[in-house]
């Protein structure tokens, strides 16, 4: 029997990661969000003041171990932020709990990642799976963008979210690149069939901040839907396709500014890289202010090292460029009510700005 492999959540993109893992010769164990049970396990086992994504990773892997999964895969970095040390601490913690799950790092771990050495997948099926995965990433980018657009305008609340789930389910079943491409072409048409109120002028809000918080709907307490159902068109600035395209210099459908271009944009306010996506958050905020967005929401886990340290800068950008920024920190909350209240109050203010003519709707293409 094939060995199983747990993959951490990258929101809906986990669908694509799963098919890549399949190509490595392992059976993926995944979900598109960390569930309550896994969160509880992670919170109980993790050191108290580590950041929330660590607890999510740990909980997810413990739950996987309980289910008898032998391996786990995670992305690690070499940056200045805590993510660099996740794997070591995860391994130590799991070992102390007498758990046998093996944790593999992918990316920046030497020329040939140990996971390939261990599973030793044949090269051609592996490449095929990687290309299939990348194709799915592109498709999910489209699904994300389409969902955000229709959700703010739909006549029957919740229809876009349902369609998104439906699309993801169907996509996860497909095992052929050609079929994914055909499916991809079909996506905008399917979203166009949702009944929308064309006269509505939704608020346009950009989401920036820390990646797992932007993507895992358990961690961000379903922020995208909370905003969307209140008539806000969001632009989530973590689209994996765009990110991969920039890092590897390949075309991935959605073009977004490269890290270098963003650095130039952020330069008047922040001259150096901080770590994580901190500089990008500043640059996107500046871009959005210029593009006529109504506001930004900056999300990060409580105490996130890079994102918290740039908050004073973000506040200055907000004042200088007249774009309201809502800073949301997420921690081990089990109820979303606090966040919802803050978001509603914020949206009231944004609508008031529209009402007083301080801001008008600008229907630019989301970049």
């Amino acid at each position: 029997m094939k060995e199983r492999m747990a993959i951490p959540n990258l929101g809906n993109y986990t669908v694509a990661l799963a098919s890549m893992v399949k190509g490595m010769g392992a059976e993926p164990w995944w979900s598109t969000y960390t569930n309550d049970h896994a969160m509880a396990l992670g919170i109980a086992a993790a050191p108290e003041s580590v950041c929330l994504p660590f607890k999510a990773h740990l909980g997810h892997f413990i739950a996987a171990d309980d289910a008898g999964v032998e391996n786990a895969l995670m992305v690690n970095s070499i940056g200045a932020c805590r993510l660099n040390y996740y794997r070591g601490l995860l391994e130590d913690t799991l070992k102390d709990m007498n758990r046998n799950i093996r944790v593999f790092g992918l990316g920046f771990d030497g020329f040939k990642p140990p996971v390939f050495r261990y599973l030793d997948p044949p090269i051609i099926p592996l490449l095929r799976a990687v290309f299939l995965g990348l194709e799915k990433v592109k498709t999910i980018d489209t699904i994300e963008v389409e969902t955000a657009r229709t959700r703010a305008r739909e006549e029957n609340t919740g229809e876009s979210s349902l369609l998104m789930e439906q699309c993801l389910r169907e996509l996860s079943e497909i095992n052929n690149k050609k079929e994914v491409q055909l499916f991809h072409k079909d996506v905008p048409g399917r979203f166009a069939r949702i009944a929308v109120n064309k006269s509505r002028e939704p608020l346009r809000v950009g989401l920036v901040g820390e990646v797992s918080l932007l993507r895992d709907r358990q961690l961000n307490q379903n922020l995208e839907q909370v905003l969307g159902h209140r008539g806000v068109e969001i632009r989530n600035f973590f689209l994996l396709g765009g990110e991969i395209g920039n890092n590897f210099g390949i075309s991935m459908g959605y073009k977004q500014q490269t890290a270098k271009q963003l650095a130039v944009v952020a330069r008047p306010y922040l001259e150096s890289e901080v770590g994580g996506h901190a500089r990008d958050s500043i640059a996107h905020t500046i871009n959005c202010a210029r593009a006529g967005f109504d506001a930004m929401v900056h999300v990060c886990p409580t105490g996130c090292m890079p994102e918290v340290s740039i908050r004073p800068i973000l506040r200055k950008v907000s004042g200088d460029m007249n774009i309201p920024v809502l800073e949301l920190s997420f921690d081990e909350h089990t109820c979303a009510l606090g966040m919802v209240t803050r978001v509603e109050a914020f949206l009231d203010i944004l609508w008031a700005r529209r009402g007083r003519g301080m801001k008008t709707y600008s229907a630019g293409r989301s970049f």
Binding site: R82, E273, G303, S309
Partner: protein, 297 residues
């Protein structure tokens, strides 16, 4: 020109360097006074709430300097030791200070990146371009400043010499927590009161080969713990500050190393406490329980 140096972060990472450097260049260095409860209170009212305690103290020190000096010295620090990096906070420190608490205040700054440029060269550029010193004065100032720092490091190490026949308590923490009047001083005092000998971790040695920890202070601490002799040290006390991200990852790891080495380990977290009773109780309990080792059974 009066140049203010906040007594926080890089003041402790480069002991003695900045005062000497600015004085030799013909400026008047003004170091903010020791941290107190008041420093923290002023800062807490203005700073970002989620900041770690040392950052709040830094903000407090900057605030205390504003108005008294012509410019405040705030560098942007990417790495202090070659092939290592710093907490992300240090990379954003200059821009965040400029945008936040020191808005509109003149800042003297430079970019410290030991991995790319050695410190001497960084200082020379700072003196020549930012402070307009001539070549000769600049060179002398740099040489003197580096010497002063060396001397401080040597004195620090010499000050930690053991009293004969006594086991020591090793205090771990960042340079800016270990030497801070508000954070570590009450702990050191209490340990002395309990008739024990505390040893503060020193960071002068930069020649070690880099380990797998990229944060330079933690790499040095890890190295120290791995070579710790349990006959010389009775226990290890790590001083951490609330919301320090780096500590939260590393404390667990150090605890494991200490366990492996057979040295008792305790983690003490300091926040905006107004009272030290909690610290006292924990220190007394730790020292008491370890003193039982001396009793004949």
């Amino acid at each position: 020109m009066k140049i203010g140096i906040p007594r926080a972060f890089y003041y402790y990472s480069y002991p003695g360097l900045w005062e000497c450097f600015f004085r030799k260049l013909g400026h008047e260095p003004v170091v903010s006074s020791l941290s107190t409860q008041k420093t923290l209170e002023t800062a807490s009212a203005q700073t970002e709430t989620e900041n770690c305690l040392p950052q709040k103290l830094f903000d407090g020190h900057v605030l205390s300097l504003i108005g008294k000096v012509d410019a405040v010295f705030v560098p942007r620090i990417h790495s202090i030791v070659k092939k290592h990096n710093c907490c992300p906070r240090f990379g954003a420190l200059l821009d965040a200070t400029r945008a936040g608490i020191a808005r509109g205040v003149r800042l003297v700054s430079t970019e410290i990146n030991e991995t790319e440029t050695p410190l001497a060269k960084t200082l020379l550029t700072l003196a020549r371009t930012n402070l307009g010193a001539d070549r000769k004065t600049a060179k002398i100032a740099v040489a003197e400043a580096l010497k002063a720092m060396e001397r401080h490091h040597r004195e620090e190490v010499a000050g930690q010499q053991a009293q004969a026949g006594k086991q020591k308590y090793l205090l771990l923490g960042h340079p800016y927590t270990l030497h801070d009047q508000f954070i570590a001083a009450p702990i050191v005092d209490k340990l002395k009161q309990l008739q024990t000998q505390p040893e503060l971790m020193t960071f002068g040695d930069n020649d070690k080969a880099p380990g797998d920890i990229l944060w330079c202070v933690f790499d040095k601490m890890h190295h120290k713990l791995q070579n710790i002799d349990k006959r010389l040290y009775r226990g290890v006390i790590q001083i951490t500050t609330f919301n320090c991200g780096a500590d939260s990852m590393m404390a667990e790891r150090f605890r494991r190393v200490c366990k492996q080495k057979g040295v008792p380990y305790m983690l003490l977290m300091v926040d905006e406490h107004t009272d030290k009773a909690g610290l006292d109780t924990r220190l007394e309990a730790f020292v008491d329980s370890l003193s039982w080792k001396d009793l004949p059974i």
